[in-house]
């Protein structure tokens, strides 16, 4: 019984995998030759479709995510160690009353409180960031700036703790600054979540 090639058989032929029967049939059947030509034309037309340009620049988001992951990696390598050291120093200072001359007596406690607050803010930030969503370019820029500043503060904390074995005004001020920046970072993320929610 005479039959024409199926689309599958024509596709195989096009891809150089056709059966001997299909090859022989197409060489003799004008209708199947036309159909094979259409297949080639269709694919050529697909390849000729225009390219698109993304409507928004996604690089700031990608960059922010990269900076954030590096910041976290750095924090995990050094920051948590610095944090632990700071906590230990604060604990020792509190226990022994090693408050330097000229520093307020409650400073060690204040630093401990700031460290705890910072940990709580880190927890909140992790929760907020866990909600997968698209960030606006302006928000990303603010987040990147805040994270960069926090990274600088963390480096400062690590340096002060390396040089001083007691709580200093400088260390307390750095922790205050860190908590303020962390707070701003959380607020920025939460506001973005609210915006997306609308």
């Amino acid at each position: 019984m005479l039959r024409h090639c199926t689309i599958s058989e024509l596709l195989d032929l096009r891809d150089g995998e056709g059966s001997a029967w299909a090859r022989s049939h197409v060489s003799e059947c004008e209708d199947c030759q036309v159909e094979l030509d259409r297949l080639h034309q269709r694919v050529a037309a697909l390849k000729a479709l225009p390219s698109y340009s993304p409507p928004r620049d996604r690089w700031p988001v990608v960059r922010a995510a990269l900076v954030k992951s590096r910041w976290r990696a750095g924090w995990q390598r050094a920051g948590w160690g610095a944090f632990a050291a700071a906590a230990a120093v604060a604990l020792i200072v509190t226990a022994r009353g090693l408050i330097g001359p000229g520093t307020p007596p409650l400073m060690a406690q204040e630093v401990t409180d700031l460290q705890q607050e910072s940990v709580q803010l880190e927890d909140i930030l992790r929760q907020v960031e866990g909600e997968r969503r698209v960030l606006r370019g302006v928000t990303v820029a603010v987040i990147v700036q805040l994270e960069d500043r926090i990274a600088i503060i963390d480096a400062g904390i690590a340096t002060v703790q390396r040089d001083e074995d007691r709580v200093t005004i400088e260390l307390r001020d750095l922790w205050r600054e860190r908590v303020t920046l962390m707070d701003q970072l959380v607020v920025t993320h939460v506001q973005q979540a609210s915006y997306v929610g609308h």
Binding site: E35, R38, R42, L49, Y52, R58, W59, V67
Partner: protein, 183 residues
């Protein structure tokens, strides 16, 4: 950006990008953003999904580029496109898209006239009416040049599944497009 420009950029920027230089990574992004976004648009149904594909692809590119070992011309392009294809396929696999219509059985076209001329659409519209999976297979095989084996691996399906999707999609495209496709 032309392939030649991309290849030239590979040589100049890839080593810096591998070291994590953000400026070099941005150059890679700028060179490939249109390529990746277009691939995302062709495989996924919406522009928003294509943007997500773009973002997810470059996050992975930036994080993994230090492991990239390709040296042949165009190997960076192929590597980035493979990541993009994978991200796009993940999106269409997990997004609960509504299939626009059911594919009909693949059979012999058997010399039927010129198809449903009344349903004649342009190629982009016709592609948009295919199921997500069929559209992805057509694009990856016929345009990007992936083999059925590669598509099967990326989709976690069989080679015969990929072949069957391709032939059903072409049967449907033929019916929707009618007589001719002008290049």
């Amino acid at each position: 950006m032309t392939e030649t420009t991309l290849a030239a950029m590979d040589e100049l920027a890839i080593q810096r990008a591998k070291s994590g230089d953000l400026e070099a990574l941005e150059r890679v992004y700028r060179a490939y953003e249109s390529t990746v976004y277009t691939l995302g648009r062709r495989i996924c149904r919406t522009a928003e999904d294509a943007e997500e594909v773009l973002q997810e692809t470059f996050l992975e590119v930036c994080r993994s580029i230090k492991k990239f070992r390709g040296t042949a011309p165009g190997s960076l392009t192929a590597w980035i496109k493979r990541i993009a294809s994978s991200k796009a396929l993940i999106r269409i696999r997990y997004e609960k898209y509504r299939e626009t219509d059911e594919l009909q059985e693949d059979g012999a076209w058997a010399g039927r006239g010129d198809g449903d001329v009344g349903l004649q659409l342009d190629l982009e519209q016709a592609m948009g009416r295919l199921s997500d999976t069929s559209r992805a297979v057509v694009w990856m095989h016929d345009v990007e040049g992936y083999t059925h084996e590669e598509i099967a691996e990326l989709m976690d399906r069989t080679v015969s599944f990929s072949k069957s999707q391709l032939s059903r999609a072409h049967a449907r495209l033929r019916r929707m497009l009618g007589k001719e496709v002008q290049c």
